[in-house]
């Protein structure tokens, strides 16, 4: 974990926190069945930042929802900490593309919500912890605002704090920064990295943007149209990957190299459909 900052992989023999074993999810379609996710096997280490990319319809969101426990595999097995996933749990916090903020509650009250449900009441301790995470996502200036007053980026931050405050060991993020303007997106990239380094959680992050994938990940999983994992790329780019560090020619060169390699793999797995438009 610490050695990560020096740009090396964090551990050569990491313990698997999440294990996917031949995970398949099929749906009825017409007279037959289609596999949205097909025979996926993968180990994810504790404190790893894993990014899953792939063309539309490659099953990456479905895979994430199965890890979250919102959907059940048709066959295969998902283990978290050695135990099979039986449904959603507090150890796994999922952040969706849509915001889940209650409109009649302020930012603070929304962030307090998860803890309030756990304790059955609001306490000064809850407030204090909520404030800590609101500060972590950079929303202290807006704690008493209602969601209608927040921009898209602020809503994402609030949703993030709402999940972080419950201290999930695993963060599952499904295109969390989609549809944000690029400046907001860039800020949130460095912030999610900082939060990940601070909180030491494991992150599985689904996106269709390759820049995002290369910037954030320890490893990049590419899924193809058939719902299979076609390749896993180790991302050995040194951290930090923002600001001045990203401008170093050597860094930039490696960045582009990895992105191109991932892009080729994604294209190869997209079938005849021209998926380049996705990126």
């Amino acid at each position: 974990m610490v050695d990560n900052k020096n740009g090396t992989l964090r551990s050569s023999t990491p313990s698997a926190q999440i294990s996917l074993k031949g995970v398949t999810k099929s749906f009825l379609k017409g007279s037959g069945r289609v596999e949205a996710v097909s025979n996926c096997t993968l180990d994810i280490a504790e404190n790893e930042f894993l990014v899953i990319v792939g063309p539309t319809g490659s099953g990456k969101s479905t895979l994430l929802k199965m890890i979250a426990g919102f959907e059940t595999p048709s066959s295969g097995e998902i283990l978290v900490g050695g135990k099979p996933v039986m449904g959603p749990g507090v150890d796994r916090g999922m952040i969706f593309q849509e915001y889940a903020l209650l409109p009649w509650r302020t930012v603070l009250q929304n962030v307090e919500l998860g803890l309030e449900f756990q304790l059955g009441k609001r306490t000064p301790q809850i407030r204090e912890r909520a404030m800590k995470y609101i500060d972590m996502v950079g929303l202290t200036y807006a704690v008493n605002k209602y969601p209608v007053e927040l921009s898209g980026g602020m809503k994402r931050r609030a949703s993030l704090a709402m999940i972080l405050v419950t201290k999930p060991r695993i963060l599952l993020m499904d295109g969390p920064f989609n549809a944000l303007d690029s400046k907001t997106k860039l800020t949130l990239h460095s912030e999610i990295t900082r939060i990940w380094e601070q909180e030491h959680n494991t992150i599985i992050f689904v996106t269709s943007e390759l820049d995002e994938a290369v910037k954030l990940s320890d490893r990049i999983v590419v899924m193809n149209k058939a719902g299979r994992i076609s390749k896993v790329f180790a991302n050995n780019l040194p951290r930090p990957r923002f600001g001045k560090a990203a401008l170093e020619p050597a860094f930039h060169h490696r960045f582009i190299e990895l992105r191109e390699a991932v892009m080729d793999e994604v294209k190869a797995g997209a079938g005849k459909v021209n998926c380049a438009a996705d990126f």
């Binding site: 889940a100 209650l102 409109p103 009649w104 919500l113 449900f117 059955g120």
Partner: protein, 278 residues
Amino acid sequence: MSNTTGGVCMESNANNPTTLLELKSVSKVFSKDGKDVLVLENVNLNIVEGEFVCILGPTGCGKSVTLQIVAGLIDQTTGSVELDGREEHGPGPHKGMVFQEYALLPWRSVVENVEIGLELKGIDKQERRRIAMEQLATVGLSGTEHQSVHEISVGMRQRVAIARALANNPKILLMDEPFEALDALTKEEMQIQILKVWEKTGTTILFVTHDVDEAIFLSDRICVMDINPGRVKKMLVNQLPRPRHECMSRTDEAFNDMRDEIISLYSSLKDEELDLII
């Protein structure tokens, strides 16, 4: 009060005891880049108990701002908002909110989402389950209670949001373009559904929309708003017979007349502004 157009005749009498919501000279100024912008000018609005009122207007007329002020989410700059004769500050479960983003908590099941307000109020588990199940039935969602909110369609999610608001037994339901994100077919289904809910519960509804047909189909009265600055242009009484969801077609003559009347109110708008409402 239920499915009659009865609310209408009391409109002229501001002191009528059944007045539920009253906006008096409400104005709102926003500061933008150091400059003050008047977004809402002198809005007066009276809603009687059980009435279904639509606020209609193009983008920028302040219709959502009006609703947010009533909801207590933002403060008016001048004027007052009274609910049941008492000045209102801040949101509360007595004002049920259903917005375009349905704001369900993804880690809770359908029924657990309906229970949110009740749980936070400290109502015991059995009782809140009973209320939630009753409200799910009201919106036609019995049988889906244990599904996750991902498994249900977007139209159904909005029904869950309506059931959640109803579970708090609100004095008024505040709806801000709740069906805007839905496809045309689902939107129509939801319009019928909300009329059924309204007829069954007798709850007062204030409904913001930019869709002229939607306003005509749903309302007892339509508050037609104008832009630059946002203000009330005219209060229209909607006499179209009820129930509408069974017998009325949107091509009826009366329906068309009403539509023409509203469009003519907007004759000063530019074409592209008009496009936004029809």
